[in-house]
């Protein structure tokens, strides 16, 4: 299973963290620091796997961002590598050629999408289309609620005038 997902920028800034195994706050900070040290220093033409504390970390760099997923030693590394790519493709489709800035200002979106992709550290949906449809449905729910809210507040505002 995937124990956690990290998105780290080349400068070592954290853009997203998702923990499927229980880590305390202190451990999380330590893990991030340790792994940034290991992964960001790796050269470009090396393999996408790092052995770390009895686990394996599968990572891939997209432009300025490193996507990392930590798995058990006997898990299938390439499968995870393609989950990363699958996630990136979905982000790309959603934002329209995604860049780091999108993920900085809309980090909550990155979380929503990840939740449609993985649960309990396992792949939930392998169809990009389905994920896109579900996220669009969520967005429209939020929009509708907003419109309703504003119309209600208008009514209240007018009523209490």
């Amino acid at each position: 299973m995937i124990h956690f997902v990290l998105l780290i920028s080349r400068q070592g800034k954290v853009r997203l963290t998702k923990w499927y195994s229980p880590y305390s706050q202190k451990e999380r900070t330590k893990v991030i620091r340790e792994l940034s040290g290991v992964i960001l220093t790796r050269g470009p033409k090396l393999c996408n796997f790092v052995e770390w504390r009895g686990f394996k970390v599968v990572y891939k760099r997209y432009a300025s961002l490193y996507f990392c997923m930590c798995i058990d030693q006997d898990d299938n590394e390439l499968e995870i590598l393609e989950i990363i790519h699958h996630y990136v493709e979905i982000l790309d489709r959603y934002f329209g050629s995604v860049c780091e800035l999108d993920l900085i200002f809309n980090f909550h979106k990155a979380y929503y999408i990840l939740d449609e992709l993985l649960i309990a550290g396992e792949l939930q949906e392998s169809s990009k289309k389905t994920v896109a449809r579900l996220i669009a449905a969520q967005d429209s729910l939020v929009e509708t609620a907003k419109e309703q809210a504003s119309s209600i507040s208008n009514i209240i505002a007018q009523a209490t005038k």
């Binding site: 229980p22 649960i119 949906e125």
Partner: protein, 1011 residues
């Protein structure tokens, strides 16, 4: 692009991005946290929109790495908000900020449950996602049935059901005891007929978790899995959106093959044939393509197929296809594929009959040892280690040595340990072995543990031919400008004993040897000085004719250390000084160290426990046969039948067998030589701590009694007890003896040993410190087994009485022999059953460890917090309470570790330790001397690093605390770690003879302790 974004949040993020340095960022964050805090305090004025915004800000700040120690409640409270936008934020932020151990989550359980059982599909999804990501025990207890219902409900849409499947997986994985999956086999089989591939993928993950727990219940799912795989592999009926770069859901394919690997075999020939067709198609049909993603996805499937083929132990032809593929992979440039090629080739070593093919790729693998990528280098090292045998050891070890000088620090320890183990296991000749170890000490002295250098000393002592060679070698090293302290230790020991053999060579006069050794004295620590003193005493003794000047020099040193603050040094100085005035009497006392009993290296033993690898086993066997052996042999003069009542000590004679045990290639042994029953059996018997000469042991057999002999020379190692003048045939045991033993340590009945003629079963009952075992000796043949003998070699702490064993076992008959056991005191030593019989003209002799292990005398006891803590506190500090950080733990989930401990009757008491990563064990130990003693154990694991943990043990008896600690450690540690010698004191040969009551000074005892 900011989609219906929150302005306040965007502004804050921009502010953070515009900060010039960390300090500014901190100021901005502190300001914002202050702001959020005041707003939360006055919650009434907060609109849902604002609340949402602040909660997101908190998450952002948290992600930047700042502590956010408030506002968790606000995030959790959003979960119960009535509207979707707030609820969504509540769920997602909660699942990011908190983990399953937070108390706040409890507050939310009711709202979560309402959402799950409610009619609103979107709310169901949110709730299932959060529980699936961070759900803990309480969630499992209150929600599992509801989640199960959703998964099976026909009215639910796929988007809910796939989430329910993974949510259930989480709850089951975390708390298999809470989630009731009785009768789920049919439901799982039904779920595998699912048309929606999203639901099917999630269900398959759930199945993997279920079969990994209990494959027997789910055999009906097996043909369905094969069917799914067939459908995917043929790309039949897979919607376009579920193909990934043209490959039908590679993830589902991988998952399905993973599930299949949990079934031990596939009985149905049709299913098996279909599966092999699919696998064949994957193996042959996967080509390297240009598109990276397509390539990765297809190879993900291919590697999983390889794993499944290995698991199913396919026909030879298919196996060689796999090896051929892997051979191709280890040579490609693409680093991922090469990495995986190396990794899977290491796994392939487990499969029989492919070692030779793998060896053909040795050059390529050695090249990977120099790859710029440390991940690949690690894999190459592992593989080289695994594939090493007598034929290629020299090449591989020399490569490792060469690589050692340039290797990263992170790898040196592992590298030197592996090189040492290989050198010992597969040395073509012993002088080469000495060369390798000395080079290791020279190049990586800091990483060489004591047992490595003890072992080389042991070899030198036991092999007369090697002594002058080793002495000359170490002397060369001492001339180097910087010498590692371990090298000083080895050299001092070897030169002390054997430098006189070099006396005629130039530069090797006693005086010269003394001066090169003595030069090092100012540079070494107090643990090395005693060894140097012993060496001086021995050099002085060997100086013939006596050299007055040298004597004065050495005496001056002894005099100087007579007042040393270190007791060990002081004692030696005083004793050697007194002894060296005795003239001729010195010769006897300081005589050369006697040979060590032949025993298996602690390093190798540990390595073997770690990897049950047929290839290596066979190589070890070969090696064991080539090795010269100076074993101590106990002659068994009165072969008696049965074991009459205990007689204190029978006659015993120690015979030194100087001759080599020569073995012909086909495994038959020359009749004149006494010889071990078979290398395999012997290796097994030399199990951890099995058989040290127990002090003052009373052996309940009138012949073949081992008296409690202690000290360097006489430490009779049970493993070395070999009946003389017995013509023995190597009868191959069926199954792995060590495995059978380990299994019986956990349960009370089962098969202890089996070969083509006999099966020995065991059934045991344990009550407090008493045990009653029954040995079932079954003759499997149509001819009688004659001259049956069974003896028990008990360790010092067990009183054992075996009832009469009949001399003949009739054809196809089974006899029962009860065996009474009384545990006198805590010890990890193990009793041995020495068993022999004749079948036709063949004499078979087997030595088996008996599963009367420490854990059998434990009785779990539930202890409440009120009882536990006063006890825990009252036992403070060593020797009653011991703590140790254990590294090299076999990585396993916490629940598995808990099961393992429970099965050793070390009962986990949940709830005593608030930290869920810790395990607390309460149990009682029974022995005649100590009666019942409460033992308390706390194991603190590190979820971020499963290879280490900290263990604290407390009991009212120091020996028990220590023995139990070691016992638990043996169960948890797997890889060949290098434990530091328990006693820091170095071996001191002469002192050991002088003061045999100090076992810490006795290298034999030290080595035995390491075994």
């Amino acid at each position: 692009m900011a989609m219906h974004g929150m302005r306040g949040l965007s502004v804050f993020i921009s502010d953070i991005r515009n900060c010039q340095n960390k300090e500014q960022e901190r100021l901005r964050v502190d300001k914002e946290l202050g702001n959020v805090r005041t707003r939360f305090k006055n919650e009434k004025g907060l609109t849902p929109y604002e609340k949402k915004k602040y909660v997101w800000k908190m998450l952002y700040i948290y992600m930047l790495g700042y502590d956010v120690d408030f506002g968790h409640m606000e995030a959790v409270s959003l979960i119960s908000a009535p509207k979707y936008p707030e609820k969504q934020v509540g769920y997602i932020v909660t699942s990011c900020l908190l983990n399953e151990n937070h108390d706040f989550l409890r507050v939310a359980i009711n709202s979560v449950r309402n959402d799950i059982i409610g009619r609103n599909e979107t709310f169901q999804c949110l709730a299932l996602t959060m529980v699936g990501n961070i759900g803990g025990r309480e969630f499992a207890e209150s929600l599992a049935p509801d989640v199960q219902k959703l998964l099976l409900s026909s009215s639910c849409r796929p988007l809910v059901r796939k989430k329910a499947a993974l949510c259930l997986l989480r709850l089951f994985r975390k708390n298999p005891d809470v989630v009731n999956v009785d009768g789920w086999a049919d439901r799982m089989a039904q779920l595998l007929d699912e048309r929606d591939l999203g639901v099917l993928t999630s269900s398959m993950s759930l199945l993997v978790a279920l079969v990994s727990n209990n494959h027997e219940a789910y055999w009906t799912c097996l043909p369905k899995c094969v069917k799914i795989l067939e459908r995917l592999a043929r790309n039949q009926d897979v919607p376009q959106e579920y193909t990934y770069y043209g490959i039908p859901s590679p993830w589902l394919q991988v998952k399905t093959m993973r599930a299949l690997q949990y079934f031990p075999s596939i009985e149905d020939p049709n299913t098996r044939r279909t599966l092999f067709e699919v696998l064949q198609r994957i193996l042959m049909g996967t080509d390297v393509v240009k598109n990276v993603n397509k390539n990765n996805a297809s190879h993900a499937v291919l590697f999983e197929a390889l794993a499944l083929v290995m698991h199913l132990d396919a026909e030879k032809e298919m196996m060689s296809q796999c090896v051929a593929l892997l051979g191709k992979f280890v040579a490609v440039r693409e680093p991922n594929i090469r990495y995986l090629g190396l990794e899977n080739m290491t796994r392939m070593l487990m499969v029989t009959d492919v070692q030779e093919v793998i060896k053909r790729h040795q050059v390529q693998i050695i090249a990977s040892l120099k790859d710029p990528d440390i991940s690949i280098r690690r894999r190459a090292l592992d593989l080289l280690y695994g594939m090493c045998d007598v034929t290629n050891a020299k090449d591989i070890v020399e490569e490792l040595l060469q690589y050692l000088s340039s290797a990263d620090f992170a790898m040196r320890e592992e590298l030197s340990l592996k090189a040492a183990i290989l050198a010992e296991k597969f040395a073509p000749d012993l002088s080469w072995y000495v060369d390798v170890i000395l080079q290791l000490i020279d190049k990586a002295g800091d990483f060489i543990s004591d047992d490595i250098w003890f072992r080389v000393v042991q070899f030198v002592i036991n092999n007369d031919d090697l002594q002058p060679y080793a002495a000359a070698k170490v002397k060369e090293y001492l001339h180097k400008p910087a010498v590692h302290e371990t090298m000083v230790k080895v050299s001092a020991y070897i030169l002390g004993e054997y430098s006189h053999l070099l006396a005629r060579r130039p530069g090797c006069s006693p005086k010269e040897i003394f001066s090169i050794l003595h030069e090092k004295l100012p540079t070494v620590s107090t643990t090395t000085i005693p060894i140097l003193l012993s060496a001086y005493a021995k050099i002085l003794m060997h100086t013939q004719p006596p050299d007055q000047e040298l004597q004065n020099q050495i005496w001056a040193i002894f005099t100087k250390y007579e007042s040393c603050i270190d007791a060990e040094i002081q004692q030696r100085a005083v004793e050697y000084f007194a002894l060296s005035r005795k003239g001729a009497a010195l010769m006897d006392i300081l005589a050369e160290m006697p040979k060590f009993p032949e025993r298996q290296s602690s390093l190798i033993k540990k390595a073997e426990d770690a990897e049950v690898d047929t290839a290596e086993q066979s190589a070890i066997k070969l090696r064991a046969q080539q090795q010269t052996s100076n074993a101590l042999v106990v002659t068994d003069q009165r072969p008696a039948n049965g074991a009459p009542p205990p007689v204190p000590v029978g006659q015993l004679s120690l015979v030194k067998v100087p001759s080599m045990i020569t073995t012909e290639d086909n495994g038959t042994l020359s009749k004149v030589d006494p010889q071990p029953p078979s290398a395999d059996l012997l290796g097994d018997l030399l199990g951890p701590l099995a058989i040290e000469g127990p002090p003052g042991a009373t052996v309940p057999s009138e012949h073949n009694a081992v008296s409690g002999l202690e000290g360097a020379a006489e430490a009779v190692d049970g493993s070395a007890i070999v009946p003389v003048e017995v013509e023995t045939n190597t009868v191959k045991p069926i199954g792995n003896i060590a495995e059978r033993f380990h299994a019986l340590c956990l349960k009370d009945s089962g098969v202890l040993y089996e070969d083509p003629y006999i099966q020995i079963g065991i059934k045991a009952e344990w009550r407090a410190h008493h045990g009653r075992l029954v040995l079932f000796l079954g003759n499997k043949n149509t001819a009688p087994l004659i001259s049956v003998q069974a003896l028990i070699l008990p360790p010092g702490h067990l009183k054992m009485e075996l009832s009469l064993v009949p001399e003949t076992i009739p054809p196809r008959a089974q006899v029962q022999c009860p065996l009474e056991v009384v545990n006198l005191r805590p010890s990890r030593d193990v009793a041995v059953l020495d068993y022999s019989y004749k079948f036709g003209a063949n004499m078979v002799n087997v030595k088996l460890r008996l599963p009367a292990t420490l854990n059998k005398f434990l009785q779990p006891i539930p202890v409440s917090a009120e009882e536990f803590f006063p006890q825990w506190r009252s036992l403070s500090g060593p020797p009653l309470k011991l703590q140790e950080v254990v590294r090299g733990v076999r990585p396993m989930p916490l629940s598995e570790m808990a099961n393992l401990l429970n099965s050793f009757r070390l009962m986990i008491s949940p709830g005593l330790d608030p930290n869920p990563n810790n395990l607390v064990v309460c149990t009682t130990f029974y022995s005649e001397n100590t009666h019942a003693i409460l033992c308390l154990v706390r194991i603190e694991t590190d979820p971020a690093d499963r290879t280490q943990l900290r263990m604290t043990l407390a009991s009212g008896d120091p020996t028990l605390t220590f023995e139990l600690k070691e016992f638990i450690k043996e169960q948890l540690v797997s890889i060949p770690m290098v434990p530091r010698a328990p006693a820091a004191a170095p071996p001191a040969p002469p002192a050991a003879q002088l003061t045999p009551q100090i076992p810490a000074n006795d290298p034999a005892a030290l080595l035995a302790g390491l075994l």
